[in-house]
């Protein structure tokens, strides 16, 4: 087990300590435990009492495939509740190799100066960073690599510096592109509130991660990697088309939110599909497959070039294409890629931003489909902090209030992702009950038929969506604690030995005797910890609801409204 480094931005001190009461936790389990225990639930998210906790997963830094997720948590300025988000990139493995289980940013400086933190094997330093003020993430990481070499970088863009509620935290990828984002919930604003522009992680000279039983670990990590490679989703589908392969499928299902959740199908879906993305990547000298983290065998990322073959963006994925495309009535993949690039550079969540621009379009600020207007909103208004820019950067709910729009697809203040719950009712249960607000990744890991968490749910039954969503959320919370990418969930669902490999690797690494039941209990503990924080922050069952219009406005083509009752939703927490 590693150490915790506490960086106090009030008195500019650094303290390193053992994990202590947090021993055995990693990733989301660690970030949520620290937030729940140490952050006053009623504190202002941008004030000195909030903390920003960053943690690798339990398996991060080892040779376990696809285990390099970087988890960040805080009290969210967007939702007012607890938040955990994670991303790939270079940082997590480097931090783990340096022996750190978490970075905890505390306090708040009394001046307006901008600072950065530099961490290497010898020390942790707080340094001046005014020279990076107002800089986009691309220029920031470029300058930092120029100064410090091939380091891992956590950074914020102008949106984070402005403390906007949609601000993200960027992580650089192996090519030093700031394209991996802890996007949801405004965690970039919390980093900005602490006056921190960047954290640089240099693992030069760091030792290897300690593993108690190397042979056993090697055996199970091979089984795990083989499981990912032989599965049709992780070994072929994601590798070939990336997550954007879903666009045609969700569109066909009628659950692809279009024009601010007004339709379930987008007539130009073919033009922004995974197939189109792959074709453009191949033709223009980009990469249709790309690993966002060293050691990832799934390689679902991509490198997208413009028509002239010049790099435009990387990691163009389903949610971003939907948010900045169909939801804003923009059916040109090149335009969507440019909008996504702007979001990465400014440091703002693509899902929330697409949802917010769509609300602004609904409210008449600009017409649906006005991509030039959308570009201007981002590049001029949000980047420079105009009044309109601050509204757009503050999320869909704020934009709904500013522009008098009642149709705002958000739960607990967070905009819904790319699946309409009126067509796919089960995801609505997850959106409603997640501790994170509307979050498609909250109920992601599939455990039901292997772990039988909370009992087996018959897929042919017409009831039980709440139970199924609960099982998914429990399993996801556990997986999020390991540092493994959520996409490993699919082989885990279909191949029992791949699931077994996860806790076998943990046992071999830490000398433990975990079973599948222990993994389940970990997931339950994480969810209950998060729920408890939210309750103390003032959330009640009434916050576990979808927005009003989803119960009354039917969605074409299936002409459905959301029909899961409040009583059924309230059953979620009965475990």
């Amino acid at each position: 087990m590693g150490k915790i480094v506490r960086i106090n931005m009030t008195d500019m001190t650094v303290k390193t300590e053992e994990l202590g009461e947090y021993a055995g936790f990693g990733g989301r389990a660690l970030t949520s435990s620290i937030i729940a225990r140490e952050v006053p639930p009623l504190c202002h998210p941008l004030g000195p009492n909030n903390k920003l906790v960053a943690a690798p997963g339990l398996l991060t830094g080892t040779t376990a495939a696809s285990s390099g997720r970087f988890h960040v948590g805080c009290k969210s300025p967007l939702t007012g509740g607890i938040k955990e988000g994670n991303a790939g990139g270079l940082v997590s493995q480097k931090l783990a190799r340096l022996g750190y289980s978490a970075i905890v940013l505390e306090g708040k400086p009394e001046d307006d100066k901008l600072r950065m933190v530099h961490i290497n094997k010898d020390k942790v330093e707080i340094l001046p960073a005014d020279e990076y003020q107002g800089m986009g993430n691309y220029e920031t990481v470029d300058k930092l690599w120029g100064k410090y070499g091939k380091v891992g970088i956590i950074s914020i863009g102008p949106a984070g510096e402005q403390k906007l509620c949609s601000a993200s935290i960027a992580i650089n990828d192996p090519e030093n592109r700031p394209t991996r984002h802890v996007g949801r919930g405004g965690q970039g604003a919390v980093m900005g509130s602490k006056g921190l522009k960047a954290i640089v992680i240099d693992d030069s000279g760091a030792g290897k991660i300690e593993i108690k039983d190397k042979d056993e670990f090697k055996k199970w990590s091979k089984i795990f990697a083989d499981g990912l490679l032989k599965h049709p989703v992780t070994g072929e589908g994601l590798t070939t088309y990336g997550t954007a392969v879903l666009i045609n499928i969700i569109n066909e299902s009628g659950g692809f939110p279009t024009r601010n959740f007004s339709d379930g199908q987008f007539e130009y879906a073919n033009d922004i599909s995974g197939e189109k993305l792959t074709e453009n990547c191949r033709e223009r000298g980009g990469k249709e497959t790309h690993a966002c983290t060293p050691g990832c065998v799934i390689r679902c990322s991509n490198v997208y070039n413009d028509k002239d073959g010049n790099y435009l963006t990387s990691g163009l994925e389903y949610e971003s294409i939907w948010a900045l495309g169909a939801n804003c009535d923009i059916g040109d993949l090149d335009v969507v890629a440019r909008l996504e690039r702007l979001c990465d550079d400014i440091g703002i969540d693509t899902i929330e931003t697409g949802g917010t621009i769509a609300v602004a379009m609904e409210g008449g600020l600009l017409p649906f489909g006005d991509w030039e207007g959308a570009m201007k909103l981002l590049d001029e208004d949000v980047r420079n902090g105009t009044s309109i820019g601050k509204i757009i950067g503050s999320g869909a709910v704020t934009a709904g209030k500013a522009f008098g729009v009642t149709k705002v697809a958000a739960v607990k203040g967070q905009c819904m992702p790319a699946y309409d719950p009126r067509a796919i009712q089960g995801i609505g249960v997850t959106y409603a009950t997640s501790t994170m607000g509307a979050d498609h990744t909250a109920g992601y890991a599939i455990a039901t038929n292997i772990m039988k968490v909370g009992g087996y749910v018959d897929p042919l039954k017409t009831e039980g969506q709440v139970e199924l969503s609960r099982n998914l959320q429990i399993a996801t919370a556990a997986l999020d604690s390991t540092g493994l990418c959520l996409f490993t969930a699919f082989p885990v669902m279909d191949q029992p030995e791949t699931f077994e490999a996860i806790y076998r690797m943990l046992n071999a690494m830490y000398g433990l005797n975990l079973t599948a039941d222990d993994v389940t209990e970990l997931g339950k503990t994480v969810l209950k910890t998060e729920r408890d924080f939210n309750t103390r922050a003032g959330f009640t069952d009434k916050d576990d609801r979808l927005p009003e219009f989803m119960y009354s406005e039917s969605l074409a083509p299936h002409n459905q409204v959301f029909t899961v009752t409040d009583e059924e939703l309230d059953e979620f927490w009965n475990f």
Binding site: E252, S273, I424, Q425, P459, L468, S469
Partner: protein, 202 residues
């Protein structure tokens, strides 16, 4: 040539695979025997191997509704059938045939099973996505398919066709023609709703 009814194209398998997404994402029209099950359509009418259907075509929509039992679901005149491989994401997994997560999409799942479908000949719109487009598409190109004329115009104006043109041969109603000639004729045939496309793949 006012009545452009049939276009034949001779091309390589690689070229065929490149144009498959252009045609099959939007869908093509196929003459089928209606009243038959989806399984029958795939295996008997198109000629796909049963094992291929079971292993590769992991996700099927009939008129936008995810289908679980392809032995029971029957196709009718004017239906839209979409075929895909197994998909990522929790919702991708939810849409799979016989998914353990099928409950999550219960309200849109295809349930209109019954024996009342008329056994006759009819037209369906068939969409192929991702791997299925690449693997099944070339087979259908060779069988021949009806395509909306505007989609045919888009197809032959796509830059992909310019790339493969020099390796292809085009026949209009049985007479050899160049790509530019075809484009001109297509412009003057906009009133025609459907065009039969047939490909010879070498």
């Amino acid at each position: 040539m006012k009545n452009l009814s049939k276009i034949e194209v001779h091309l390589s398998i690689n070229a065929a695979r490149k144009i498959c997404p252009l045609l099959f994402q939007k869908g093509v029209l196929l003459k089928v025997q209606t009243g038959a099950s989806i399984k029958n359509f795939l295996c008997e009418q198109i000629g796909l191997d049963k094992t291929y259907v079971d292993r590769r075509i992991g996700t099927i929509f009939l008129n936008g509704q995810p289908v679980d039992d392809i032995n029971k679901a029957t196709i009718r005149n004017n239906d839209t059938l979409a075929l895909s491989g197994a998909m990522p994401g929790v919702i991708g997994a939810t849409m799979r045939r016989d998914s353990s997560l099928a409950l999550l999409r219960n309200t849109i799942t295809f349930k209109e099973y019954g024996d009342d479908a008329v056994r006759d000949h009819g037209l369906i719109r068939l969409k192929l996505f991702n791997f299925i487009s690449q693997e099944v598409g070339p087979l259908l190109l060779q069988k021949g398919l009806m395509v909306d004329s505007k989609d045919v115009i888009n197809l032959f104006h796509d830059k992909i066709f310019e790339e493969i043109d020099r390796y292809s041969a085009i026949y209009l109603n049985g007479k050899k023609a160049g790509l530019n000639e075809l484009r001109e004729i297509l412009k003057s045939s906009v009133k025609q709703k459907l065009i039969l496309l047939k490909f010879t793949i070498s």
